[in-house]
């Protein structure tokens, strides 16, 4: 909930520059072992790797959104859009709490698909 709220705010504020309206498409895909949220927008894209970590000791008043998203979600993937294609943010929360299962599932969840695998 926190992660989605921060992502939505970032799209509204940074992606669409606080415009009065903007399109955001949200797909929610529940499955037995995970919840996947896919958020698409046609606003300005960004480079998540270029966003600095907040300096928590300095008591920041802003810039915490992406840190919150990454902390609460197990997989966070962002694909900036290009002509005609929206930006796509994928958030995955694994539902199995054990650390071993979480580590295994996180590496599987973000591994590129191999079309040759049976």
């Amino acid at each position: 909930m926190s992660a989605f709220g921060e992502a939505f705010n970032n799209i509204a504020i940074h992606g669409y520059g606080c415009a009065a309206t903007g399109q955001v498409e949200i797909d929610i895909e529940p499955s037995p072992d995970r919840l996947t949220l896919i958020v698409r927008d046609t606003g300005k894209s960004f480079d998540p790797e270029a966003v600095p970590m907040p300096n928590l000791e300095g008591l920041p008043e802003s810039g915490m959104g992406l840190y919150i998203i990454r902390s609460f979600m197990d997989v966070v993937e962002y694909r900036p859009g290009s002509e005609g294609r929206p930006n796509v943010l994928t958030l995955v929360k694994l539902l199995d709490a054990s650390p071993e299962a979480r580590e295994l599932q996180t590496s599987q969840a973000s591994a590129p698909r191999n079309p040759k695998r049976q």
């Binding site: 705010n9 907040p54 928590l56 008591l59 920041p60 008043e61 915490m64 959104g65 919150i68 609460f72």
Partner: protein
């Protein structure tokens, strides 16, 4: 989001209920500005009725904290729980603000 301000003599209680987020945090700003202008007082922020906070809400409270401290005052938070407490712990604000954790 609903909020109320009560003067208890040596300190002021600001109670915030509901959801403090990007939509509602701006409604709180004038009250926070007034508290800061009031000078070096102690403000207790009662969050026992707060269900949800986002980074904008956090920003408003951190801003209050820093501005009050700059004027010789102090801010503490009481009654924080559930999702707001999880956010405070993540951002290590529980150590900064909290007198009474549930």
């Amino acid at each position: 989001m609903h909020f109320s301000l009560k003067d208890r003599g040596s300190y002021t209680v600001l109670r915030i209920e509901g959801e403090l987020d990007a939509n509602t945090a701006p409604d709180l700003r004038p009250t926070l500005d007034k508290l800061v202008l009031g000078g070096g007082r102690t403000v207790t922020v009662d969050l026992s009725g707060l269900r949800l906070i986002d980074s904008s809400g956090v920003g408003a409270l951190v801003s209050l904290y820093k501005r009050m401290r700059a004027r010789g005052g102090s801010v503490r938070v009481e009654g924080i729980c559930d999702q707001p407490l999880a956010i405070f712990r993540l951002l290590r604000l529980d150590a900064v603000f909290c007198a009474g954790l549930n």
